[in-house]
């Protein structure tokens, strides 16, 4: 089964990620990285990743399939996993700093930055006034000189105020300067539909940001991938937007003690299957898994993939799955119009149309502002029962 390996990494202050001989483990397969740390064998399982990646990832033992390793690792909640990842990166690289509202002395409105301000000081964990446009711009300006800020939007919806900075400066500066400036910034925050938070605080910004060229978007869904993606995002030279979900912060999971970094561009295979590919991300993963239980009882074998990388899509993993099952269901929390699901549908149709036995079904939230009333709110998002119905429909 999956085993754990400790990468003996020399995390020197030169900030270069040279891991001498890491071994990565994926669901029973082992890829060995040559000692000159060339990446080709590690992540690439095909032609797409023929480039040497500067970011070496060494995802250590995945969670679900090793009950034997329940004694190793430590249990924590998702927000603690994010905090751990952030803290490790801040220790490792003095250029990493955190900016946001109430991230310092208050400890973060979702406790993701708890304990960081007393540890690293006010210059590295900065409490900003309520001025998203300004502090996001400042984060980008600082990133232009080589600092690696992590900008927190208290709620992703507030980052709409900083849209100009994110779109024009963050995404495009590398291009319009002819490659002179890199923007290694991480913009993160909770989004998604919560528990009756109202329309303005239940927004899904991934659909608005997805067109911006030059940025990467990832969505975390478990403590394991939250920590790994946080670390990867900070180490990435590109601007990364990390979408967290308000309702997932208290998920508990056992994660490895060893240091690990996930790949930003990869999707996660949650449950392999044969009959239908269900693509999802963030909170909808849990609705899908709930529906999967019902589906299994009914005799279906769904393959569930958490796409994680919202921009760019991991069409390699997705493609392999489509080629196997020939049926696709997308379950997302974005709204129907112009959401991630809409783009994913288009991408799959363009690339894998020949492999599809049925049209792609995309389940998204309704195109309405999220209402306050509990029952109405439930009807705006996709529920497990609808997923089951959709799969049955697809598999006819």
């Amino acid at each position: 089964m999956a085993t754990l390996f400790h990468p003996t990494a020399a995390f020197s202050t030169s900030h270069k990620l040279h891991i001498p001989s890491p071994i990565s483990v994926r669901k029973g397969q082992i890829f060995v990285v040559r000692s000159d740390a060339r990446m080709n064998n590690l992540i690439s399982r095909g032609a797409h990743k023929s480039q040497t990646q500067r970011l070496l990832t060494n995802a250590v033992a995945t969670k679900a399939d090793n009950s034997s390793s329940s004694k190793t690792g430590h249990e924590l909640l998702l927000f603690e996993a994010l905090q751990e990842g952030l803290e490790e990166e801040m220790e490792r690289d003095p250029r990493v700093c955190v900016m946001g509202e109430d991230v310092g002395h208050y400890g973060g409105s979702y406790k993701v930055t708890k304990g960081l301000a007393p540890k690293f000081g006010d210059l590295r964990v900065l409490d900003t006034p309520i001025a998203e446009n300004a502090f996001t711009g400042m984060g980008i300006g600082a990133a232009m000189t080589g600092l690696r800020p992590v900008v927190e939007g208290m709620n992703m919806g507030f980052l709409l105020l900083a849209f100009n900075q994110i779109s024009n400066n963050c995404g495009m500066l590398h291009y319009t300067s002819g490659g002179q400036f890199k923007i290694p910034i991480v913009i993160r925050g909770p989004g998604g539909v919560g528990r009756q938070l109202g329309a303005e605080h239940s927004q899904r910004l991934e659909s608005y940001f997805q067109s911006i060229p030059g940025i990467q978007m990832v969505a975390c869904s478990t403590p394991y991938n939250a920590k790994g993606l946080m670390k990867a995002a900070i180490r990435s030279e590109n601007p990364v937007i990390l979408f967290e979900h308000v309702l997932l912060y208290n998920l508990k999971e056992r994660i490895p003690d060893e240091e690990y970094v996930l790949s930003l561009e990869e999707a996660e295979m949650v449950r392999p299957g044969e009959h239908v590919t269900i693509l999802t991300y963030s909170r909808m993963r849990y609705h899908v898994m709930q529906a999967a239980k019902t589906l299994v009882n009914k005799g279906y074998d769904p393959e569930v993939i958490d796409i994680r990388s919202l921009k760019p899509f991991d069409l390699y993993t997705i493609g392999n799955s489509v080629k196997k099952t020939h049926r696709v269901l997308i379950v997302e929390e974005c709204m129907r119009t112009g959401g991630i699901g809409a783009s994913l549908t288009a991408a799959i149709t363009e690339n894998f149309n020949d492999y599809l036995d049925a049209p792609i079904i995309c389940l998204s939230s309704q195109d309405v502002p999220t209402p306050y009333a509990g029952t109405l709110e439930e009807w705006t998002v996709v529920q497990p029962a609808q997923i089951v119905t959709a799969v049955e429909q697809l598999c006819q």
């Binding site: 797409h48 700093c97 446009n133 300004a134 711009g137 400066n169 002819g178 561009e265 363009e350």
Partner: protein
């Protein structure tokens, strides 16, 4: 507040940016001297919550000559850009800086390349003063590969990382938070350098400016906000856009200084003062009272919202190049003929650069996909028809 430093070293820094790449052959013995020379600014500074610097500016003959040459070069470059635009070699937006050269030149004289400058879209001359070459300017304007942003930025996106010039931004006011971020990085790295964030009188009404100013003042950042007040925000005069056009006072709790922006020496004095001030006390606002002869951009004739008399009046009375010329003549640093020769040389330089830029290649189609992401992502991007052109983003 009198400045203590005698800038005998600054002329050598000055000579580097523009004049150094051209071998200087002329100059009578006395004119190239770096002996300190004190000149009074013609107008006093007006201060808000601080003590204004003295009107006596330390300079030298060499520095004045370099001012003249640099400003003449900038002027010539902008006029040439005007003709190129009309000849449709430059397309899109082209915002010209002629009339405002003193701000770029005076600022550069007061600071080092480690200090950062960020400005908006009227950036051709500031780029030049930060070490850019004429070829890079014209090639970029014409969208050629040899441009400073490889032809992919255009007039509004000039950057020069090694010169400490951070652009070049099209959206009004968005550069000010970026500039405060640069100042934050300087403080974080304990650099002892400052950042000048330039913006116009139109941008002075942007909210993000005050947001960034608040944060800079709170965190004590070495951030200097410079309002280049040319009195018109595109077609709207300042009295129609701002309830309080005293931009140097708009910072309220942040000190400010109003400067005659057509006087390169006054600009130099103010920037020097501001740098010292910001390193000790946090942000300060400088308002440069300046004027642009062209319209807002090449699509704006510039005469529908102001009279031609006004423009020619400013040109006669306050032109920055004429001012330095008069100084040079009155201090007998140079003769009329020498200055005319300088202008001819400068004209020739610009013409040569344009010719060279015209020969430069257009970007390759593969350049379309370069620099979207920093190397190593291996993402696929598709061309417009989604099937024929499939490129891997390098």
């Amino acid at each position: 507040m009198a400045l203590s430093r005698v800038s005998s070293s600054s002329p050598s820094i000055l000579l580097k940016p523009l004049s150094s790449y051209l071998s200087l052959r002329r100059r009578s013995v006395s004119s190239s001297s770096t002996d300190p020379l004190t000149v009074e600014t013609s107008l006093p500074f007006t201060a808000h919550r601080c003590d204004e610097p003295s009107r006596a500016v330390e300079t030298s003959a060499a520095e004045l000559l370099s001012f003249f040459r640099d400003m003449a070069l900038m002027r010539r470059m902008e006029i040439a850009a005007d003709s190129l635009y009309k000849a449709k070699l430059i397309r899109g937006f082209c915002h010209l800086y002629d009339g405002q050269e003193a701000v770029a030149v005076g600022m550069e004289a007061a600071i080092t390349r480690k200090d950062c400058i960020i400005t908006a879209y009227r950036d051709h001359c500031t780029f030049l003063s930060r070490g850019g070459t004429l070829l890079e300017v014209f090639a970029e304007l014409m969208g050629r590969r040899d441009g400073c942003s490889k032809g992919k930025g255009g007039s509004m996106h000039f950057y020069r990382k090694e010169g400490g010039f951070y652009g070049g931004h099209g959206i009004v006011g968005a550069q000010v938070p970026l500039g405060c971020g640069l100042a934050f990085a300087q403080k974080y790295c304990k650099d002892e350098n400052v950042t000048f964030s330039l913006y116009g009188d139109g941008a002075a009404n942007q909210g993000q400016l005050f947001e960034a100013l608040n944060i800079s003042a709170l965190w004590d950042l070495p951030s200097i906000l410079v309002c280049e007040n040319n009195h018109y925000g595109m077609g709207t005069a300042e009295w129609r856009a701002a309830k309080s056009p005293a931009y140097y006072k708009r910072g309220d709790y942040v000190p400010g200084l109003k400067v005659d922006g057509m006087d390169a020496l006054a600009v130099k004095q103010a920037c020097k003062f501001a740098k010292e001030f910001a390193l000790k006390n946090g942000p300060i606002i400088l308002e440069m009272d300046t004027y642009r002869y062209h319209g807002h951009s090449m699509s704006d004739p510039g005469s529908t919202y102001r009279t031609r008399d006004e423009i020619s009046g400013v040109r006669q009375e306050r032109d920055p190049i004429e001012r330095v010329r008069k100084l040079l003549l009155s201090h007998e640093i140079s003769t009329e003929k020498e200055l005319k020769d300088t202008e001819k040389e400068v004209r020739k330089e610009v013409d040569e650069a344009i010719a060279k830029a015209k020969e430069s290649q257009m970007p390759d189609p593969s350049d379309l996909f370069k620099n979207v992401y920093v190397k190593g992502l291996g993402v696929e991007a598709r061309g417009a028809d989604r099937k024929e052109v499939i490129a891997t983003l390098p």
